[in-house]
Symmetry: C2
């Protein structure tokens, strides 16, 4: 059999990529250790007190008549002309305390229902990028085709808890109709948990009506929800407040996320950025509770610093790591579920910088036991670009994190002293029964990372991680299977989209 070695080599190099991720079951994720306290309690209290001072003495603007009325009824100091609200800490903390410390985010398929809070870590893909990129087509305006492909990837890879959301902007669809198309696409393409935009009153009401066709009416708490960004410093505009009030009234989730850049929209220290963020996040969460007590709301941490050379926000920086860790500590102090972000980078391409910064985003998220890790994959260029390859590269980190958090066992079997004794001095364990019984599942099996020696790697085309990620995202899309949805629901969604497409002609969504 002189041909055997040659044949083996050929099979090896033409082998289809094995995608170990897809062999995993979908599951909820928790950490085996306590969340990391970066600051001692007295420093957390100092931040808390600073933010209470801000809300009591500086106040926060709520640029919406309904919000101002709600605050006035609750007894806050409201100036209708300046739209400024000053909030005593007692009132604020009483409202924040109405927020559920943990809630279920319902998926179309109940096996994908999520626990938000209680130490659970849930991963969400990229969100809201105007551009998409991959190696074949480069950087380009994102389209509904890109949108659908990102939903399919997040649906197919079991590590993702959410498969839908804003993902990318479908720039081939008019702005005023995107929420309709997005919602229909998500419901059609995945039965995992989904999110949506919560801007203005019109979009959330349309989304709720479409989801009632799927989940029934009234909607269970929560089947959708979205991020509202506080316009720092200290201002919630009518567009954000509309989404918050609309979703809260339908018992859907609002993730209140100030977007603070220290040195621009807050003072130039991360201490001040985090204190201001705390004031803004709690002010927003309290408003959700005014709109409906007990409605699901989350504390979003996104404090970064401005880069003093370019004026850009700095992503995946040490400052952002403090931001995540300390905001999570504050959220735990108030017993409110916490959101941060996982694949942030300023890099223009999925290179070493992109991976370094993404890991500087993800490690703090995991150590902080972030309940929703937004942007867990796919970021490039400060969030302007969703990269298909970066999506896959970041998913390797997520797969590693699952293994890291779940799979370390210390007991008599795993310590295996008898096996050490049996093999003895200077032997090896390659062919022991224990090795043979466990070799398939013992260790994390990487999808992107190459562990070939140099010669094998050269023989396989000297591909770097980026090129391998390009093959893998396409191979995963090939394995996508659309979940069942009743034709009657599909038709009802189509009818809704058709009707609203007519009605929304010329309408300003945020008026």
């Amino acid at each position: 059999m002189s041909e055997a070695p040659k044949r083996r080599r050929q099979r090896n190099s033409s082998r289809k990529p094995t995608i170990a991720w897809l062999e995993q079951p979908f599951r909820l994720l928790k950490s085996p250790i306590k969340p990391l306290d970066w600051l001692p309690e007295e420093k957390i209290e100092a931040i808390h007190n600073a933010s209470m001072d801000i809300l009591e003495n500086v106040g926060m603007a709520f640029m919406d008549k309904q919000a101002l009325d709600l605050w006035e009824q609750a007894g806050a100091d409201v100036n209708h002309k300046t739209e400024l609200v000053k909030i005593d800490r007692e009132l604020l903390l009483e409202l924040v305390a109405k927020t559920p410390s943990s809630f279920t985010w319902h998926a179309r398929n109940p096996k994908y229902n999520l626990t938000i809070g209680d130490g659970h870590i849930n991963f969400v893909p990229n969100s809201g990028m105007p551009f998409a990129s991959d190696l074949d087509n480069g950087r380009r305006d994102a389209t509904s085709k890109d949108y659908e492909n990102f939903v399919k990837l997040a649906h197919t890879i079991p590590y993702f808890h959410f498969a839908g959301g804003l993902l990318v902007e479908s720039q081939d669809i008019p702005v005023s109709l995107r929420h309709l198309h997005r919602t229909r696409s998500m419901v059609n393409l995945t039965d995992k948990a989904i999110k949506n935009v919560s801007h203005g009153y019109i979009i959330p009401e349309d989304v709720v009506k479409m989801l009632e066709l799927v989940f029934g009416s009234p909607l269970p708490m929560a089947v959708t929800g979205g991020v509202v960004n506080v316009t720092s410093p200290l201002r919630l505009d009518d567009r954000m407040i509309g989404g918050m009030i609309a979703y809260a009234r339908h018992n859907q989730a609002t993730i209140v996320t100030p977007f603070i850049m220290a040195g621009a929209t807050s003072p130039i220290t991360m201490a001040a950025a985090i204190a201001q963020q705390n004031a803004e996040a709690l002010g927003g969460i309290a408003l959700c509770q005014l709109a409906r007590a007990g409605s699901p709301a989350m504390y979003g941490g996104f404090a970064q610093n401005i880069d003093m050379r370019t004026g850009s926000p700095s992503f995946g920086a040490p400052e952002g790591a403090w931001g995540t860790l300390v905001a999570a500590q504050l959220a735990r102090r108030y017993n409110v579920p916490f959101r941060a972000s996982g694949s942030l980078t300023n890099s223009q391409v999925p290179d070493a910088q992109a991976s370094l910064e993404a890991n500087w985003s993800m490690w703090p998220c995991i150590l902080a036991q972030t309940n929703i890790v937004y942007h867990a994959v796919g970021w490039l260029e400060g969030g302007l670009v969703a990269s298909f390859e970066k999506f896959i590269l970041d998913t390797e980190t997520i797969g590693m994190m699952y293994h890291f958090l779940e799979s370390f066992e210390i007991d008599t079997d795993s310590l295996a002293v008898q096996s050490i004794a049996d093999v003895g001095i200077g032997g090896h364990h390659l062919d022991t029964k224990m090795t043979q019984d466990n070799y398939k599942s013992a260790f994390y099996d990487p999808v992107i990372s190459s562990r070939q020696n140099f010669e094998q790697w050269e023989e396989n085309g000297s591909k770097d991680a980026l090129q391998r990620a390009n093959s893998i995202y396409k191979a995963i899309l090939e394995q996508y299977e659309q979940p069942h949805l009743d034709d009657s629901i599909k038709e009802a969604l189509d009818d809704f989209v058709a009707r609203r497409t007519e009605e929304l002609k010329g309408v300003n969504l945020y008026s």
Copy 2:
């Protein structure tokens, strides 16, 4: 002045790279938080007991007459024929307890003296690679020129605590003479702390004699030291033991580092790998104390898993992260300084995989408060290749870690509530006095990471992180300044090297 915009753009794109790292002072590094306990105490005790069982009942081979005699005199159960030593836990722990929990590693320039232990984190560059690589010359046999360049980089960048060590193998120099050239190069090129190889009896004795020309005789504890790898399972060979005994007798440091691959040189669980590593590391540390009680010794953690597809060790994997965190916990239990590794990767090129895996090595090192972070930069290809660009890419992580650990302040000034009040609702902080006073030093200033917008980045040549790292390593080498060394010492070193070059002709260094 119609030319102004053009001229500014030209200056911008031809500007020499700013290397913020080099503006930093050299300093010792500690973490503001407690080391991370990955396992609860009872699991640490389970590992401890398993490893005590191994040393008592299976034993460990010490393949050296002097070592066996030392163990026999101490009262261990020694079989001179099989070279097997069985060690009671009482004897073992009594010996390990003689190890200094913290010691000073002396540099030629006292301002670079290091504290090893007591929560200090010290960074060491790559060590021992047969190949070097950079973008210009590719992957090649390492030479003494490469060796010198790595010393110069680590000397010039203030983040590195050690500038010397094995770095790369100078393959242009005969094996039996490399330690002479290496030692002379280090002493000539840097006055920071240095390490060396500790294999056999001859090399350490030569190194000690050369360093006595610099530091005087007898040497202070410690001015040099090295890693010995236990040949797992459970075996220290004569080459390793020679180095340990020779260095211990001169009060120099030994870093006992079993190289265990779970599934090959230990059972296929990380629990067993770590228990076996604990037995091997403690057995080696105890031998150092038998050779000289109170001599500086360290607990090295390097437990990885074998990759079941390729048979390679897996570097930068979740398994190695557990290995670092739990070995550090064990070292703290025994009050012995701890060493782990920081830039490990299997990647063939400095790409996203390399950066991902390097961060999976470094984050556990930092969380564990690793006293010596070996291989903190530069690794490629499972340690076969030292890459100049990877050196620089990994240094960005180290710079970020310094900032992360050192620079977060929470006090009345940094909380800046008055500044928040002054700017008020919806303003910005770009031109406040606080921003103007602090913008240069407020945030980590990256050297490699690009935060330019896409258009600026394109205009600057669309360079990825790897290409930028290539420019930066050359720019740093240009800024290298050789520290003063008395001519008399230089001559004495040259004389020693010349004499030993003659004497070592045809000598087996490890006989």
